[in-house]
């Protein structure tokens, strides 16, 4: 069965397109509104009724990275460059680690079923379903004892474990989907298990691995609770600083907040489009494929 896109039953014409377009735009309006506001001058941002046609400006995006923090002071770097780097670096390294460890486990769960596998898989999924706030309580204490709070090592280790259950279940679902005939034939011809894995199974799931990677990166990029409690000034990630920014100022700086949110969500929205075919599998941790 084709897995290429979110499938449909039958067809409808442009009439349906019109209805769907109106509803989709209303649904997407909160995102659109923020993106538009990000390009508005201070006056346009506060205008009512909402202006949809205006002269766009990038001032807000500049002030995400450079702005005056005190009245009449000089513009200073806000540190958001570092925070974006942190989000990418911490996300990238932890997802890569989780994917390597996870793929090996996923292959074993899929190809060498053992007694007790169900229990392990359940345990792995439970660690993921666990409320983050429950998991964080002991980890917070242990991180303090071992001096891991605010370090890259600490948060990367934590995110690796955070991404691992997702990687195992996702990648396993891709291995489960493969047609076994080819590898069985290779085994009959005397190929080693390593060769079967490396030359036959792995190449067939490259696309799946890529989807898992991107998905896990999004999850990590979006994560807030762990980052709030376990990162320091040097390792802070974007969502933590966004929440600090809106909580800290007296009045809301609409343009600035919108620009921040826009920079934070645009990558996710774009990547979601590329992932459309794997969304169902991704959001259910590979438990539902069709």
């Amino acid at each position: 069965m084709s897995q290429r896109e979110v499938r449909s039953i039958g067809t409808a014409g442009w009439g349906r397109t019109l209805t769907a377009a109106i509803i989709s735009l209303i649904y997407f309006f909160p995102v659109l509104f923020i993106i538009l506001t990000a390009f508005k001058s201070r006056q346009d941002a506060l205008a009512w009724p909402v202006k949809f046609i205006f002269t766009p400006t990038v001032t807000n995006f500049v002030s995400v990275f450079y702005r005056t923090t005190v009245e009449g002071g000089e513009a200073e770097a806000t540190g958001f460059g570092l925070y974006f780097f942190n989000s990418l670096f911490i996300g990238g390294s932890s997802v890569l680690l989780a994917l390597i460890i996870g793929t090996s486990a996923a292959y074993a769960f899929s190809r060498f079923p053992l007694k007790g596998n169900e229990t392990y898989l359940f345990m792995i999924l439970t660690t993921r379903m666990m409320p983050p706030i429950v998991a964080i309580i002991p980890i917070f204490v242990l991180f303090r004892i071992f001096g891991l709070s605010g370090t890259y090592v600490g948060i990367i280790a934590l995110y690796t474990a955070f991404n691992l259950p997702f990687s195992v279940w996702m990648v396993k679902s891709f291995f489960d989907d493969l047609d076994r005939d080819i590898e069985d034939a290779a085994r009959m011809d005397g190929s080693s298990e390593w060769k079967v894995f490396r030359k036959i199974c792995l190449p067939q799931v490259y696309a799946g691995l890529a989807a898992t990677f991107v998905f896990a990166i999004i999850l990590t990029w979006n994560e807030f609770v762990f980052a709030l409690l376990l990162t320091g000034t040097q390792t802070r990630t974007v969502p933590v600083q966004i929440v600090r920014t809106i909580g800290g100022s007296m009045g809301v700086d609409w343009g600035l907040m919108s620009a921040l949110e826009t920079l934070f969500i645009i990558p996710v929205v774009l990547v979601t489009f590329a992932l459309q075919n794997q969304l169902l599998r991704g959001v259910t941790f590979g438990t539902i494929r069709r």
């Binding site: 209805t19 769907a20 649904y27 999924l125 309580i137 990029w221 979006n222 929440v243 809106i246 539902i288």
Partner: protein, 306 residues
């Protein structure tokens, strides 16, 4: 078992075919044990003590089951569970209805469907904290979009987060907006799994639309609706980011969900022992729900094989 005689012998023993599975799984299990399981067991121990995570030097004081007894008799805890339940029921119900309707809208192929689908699916991929910030901006009393919109019609200022009921609705609205697409995806998967010949047969029998839906479509989406319900219940039960950012639990404690309350006990009051005990109670609930979810998954896959 005889001890391996040489390094090569040991390596040979280790790499024997029957140990392939365990060996490949070992790194994953080890990581989870170190980073997740061990801390959890440790906090299980802590749940019997009085302890402050900020004062690492001060040794924990033994309290036996007192933390648990306190929690079960504490009206605050009961109230936070109620807040959470209201949000879960409200939000999941809205998600199921809106998700279902969106799925019907997108069930057929039409021009530009792929692009419009992206607009609807985007919210669920966003960061929970970002969505919290979104709606904080939308609900902002003086310049926020929704208060201004309402004021245009009523002429009176509209402050959304001022009363418990309105604040709860505000959270449900934000959460349901974010997650209805999730239900839509699952229902869509159910709708397309209905074999076409059934509809063709119904056409010949001139079955009414309602009858077609009840006897053909619904049985195919029933199991997926149940999965959506369970999955969203688990996730919404844990809701933290949105109320934390949006209302900070207020007004009063009317929107303080169990996760937000846990956060306060653990990281504002630093009653680490008590927080660990409450964490275990919450964890127990999640484990039960997760088992139900996996059970539903398994019965669905055995259904489709038959």
């Amino acid at each position: 078992m005889p001890a391996p005689r040489s390094a090569r012998g040991f390596l040979g023993w280790l790499l024997a075919p029957e140990r392939r599975g365990p060996l490949l799984i070992a790194p994953a299990i080890a990581t989870l044990v170190i980073v997740n399981i061990f801390p959890l067991l440790w906090s299980y121990g802590l749940s019997f003590f009085s302890y402050n995570a900020k004062k690492i030097g001060v040794p924990p004081r033994w309290r036996g089951l007192d933390n648990y007894v306190d929690l079960f008799t504490d009206e605050d805890v009961w109230g936070r569970f109620q807040n959470t339940a209201v949000i879960v029921i409200g939000s999941v119900a809205v998600q199921l209805v809106v998700g279902f309707l969106l799925a019907l809208l997108f069930a057929r192929e039409f021009p530009l469907r792929r692009y419009l689908l992206m607009l609807v699916l985007a919210p669920m991929m966003l960061s929970l904290s970002a969505v919290g910030v979104f709606f904080k901006l939308f609900y902002e009393p003086t310049f926020g979009f929704i208060p201004r919109l309402v004021q245009t019609f009523t002429g009176e200022p509209f402050v959304i987060l001022s009363t418990p009921v309105k604040a709860t609705i505000a959270i449900v609205f934000a959460d349901a907006w974010m997650w209805s697409p999730f239900v839509m995806l699952l229902v869509l998967a159910g709708l397309v799994s209905v074999p076409k010949y059934l509809y063709e047969a119904a056409e010949i029998d001139r079955a009414s639309a309602w009858r077609r839906f009840r006897t053909i479509t619904f049985p195919y989406i029933r199991s997926l609706l149940l999965l959506a319900l369970l999955f969203r219940t688990i996730e919404t039960f844990k809701i933290f980011d949105v109320p934390y950012v949006l209302t900070e639990g207020g007004p009063g404690t009317s929107t303080e969900t169990i996760s937000v309350y846990l956060f306060r006990v653990a990281f504002n009051y630093f009653q680490t022992g008590r927080a660990s005990a409450l964490g275990y109670i919450v964890l127990f609930g999640v484990i039960v729900l997760t088992s139900l979810y996996l059970y539903a998954i398994q019965s669905r896959s055995s259904e489709s094989i038959e």
